[in-house]
Amino acid sequence: MEVVSGILMLLGALLALVAGIGLQRFDDVFARMHAATKPATLGLALVMFGAALQLLPDGGAVIKLLLVVLLQFATAPVGSHLVGRAAYRAGTELSDQTQVDELAGVDPE
C-alpha cells in the first residue's frame, strides 16, 4: 500500500514538472495555459489519492483530501476559462504559429 501511494504521488509530481517545462517552452499565453491546467486537475488528484491511501484509517483526513480534489475539479475549468477570456479580450499577442483564430473579428459584446 505504501509503495502504491508513493508511486501515485510521484506520478502527480512528475506531471507538475512536465507542466513546468511546458510553461517555459510554449510561446503563447493560451499554449502555456494548456500545459499549466493539467497538473491542476489530474496531477492534484493523483497526489491527493496517494496521500489519502497513506492516511487511510483516518476518515476525516481522507474526506478533506477528497474535498480538495472536488473543489479543484469544480473551480479549475472556470478559473482557466476566465483567464483565457480576459487574456484574449485584453488583446494578448497570439503565437506566430497560430493557424486558426476563430474569434478574429467577432464583436466582444
Binding site: 513546468g20 510553461l23 499565453v29 478533506k64 480538495v68
Partner: protein, 87 residues
C-alpha cells in the same frame, strides 16, 4: 521510502522553480497569473505529500482553504485584466 519522498519533493521543487521563472519573465500579465495558479497547485501538492510522510493532519485544512482562495484570486485578477488590458 525516504528516497522516494526525497525524489517527490525534488521534482515538486523543480516544478515550483520553473513556475517562478515564468512568473518573473512573464511577457504578459496573464502569463504571470497562469504561473501563479500553477505554483499554488504545486504548493498544495507539497503540503499533501508532507502530511502523508509525517502523518500529521494539522495542515489538511490549509489545503481546502488554499484551493478555494486560489480560485477567488484567479477570477478577481481575470476581471481586473479584462477591464485594464494585459501588459
Amino acid at each position: 521510502m525516504t528516497v522516494l519522498y526525497a525524489l517527490i519533493f525534488a521534482v515538486l521543487a523543480l516544478a515550483g522553480v520553473l513556475c517562478l521563472v515564468r512568473m518573473l519573465r512573464g511577457a504578459s500579465f496573464p502569463d504571470r497569473i497562469v504561473a501563479l495558479d500553477m505554483l499554488l497547485v504545486v504548493v498544495v501538492c507539497g503540503i499533501a505529500v508532507d502530511a502523508a510522510r509525517t502523518g500529521t493532519r494539522e495542515y489538511l485544512d490549509v489545503l481546502v482553504v488554499a484551493s478555494l482562495l486560489g480560485f477567488t484570486g484567479t477570477s478577481l485578477v481575470a476581471r481586473f485584466i479584462e477591464r485594464r488590458g494585459a501588459r
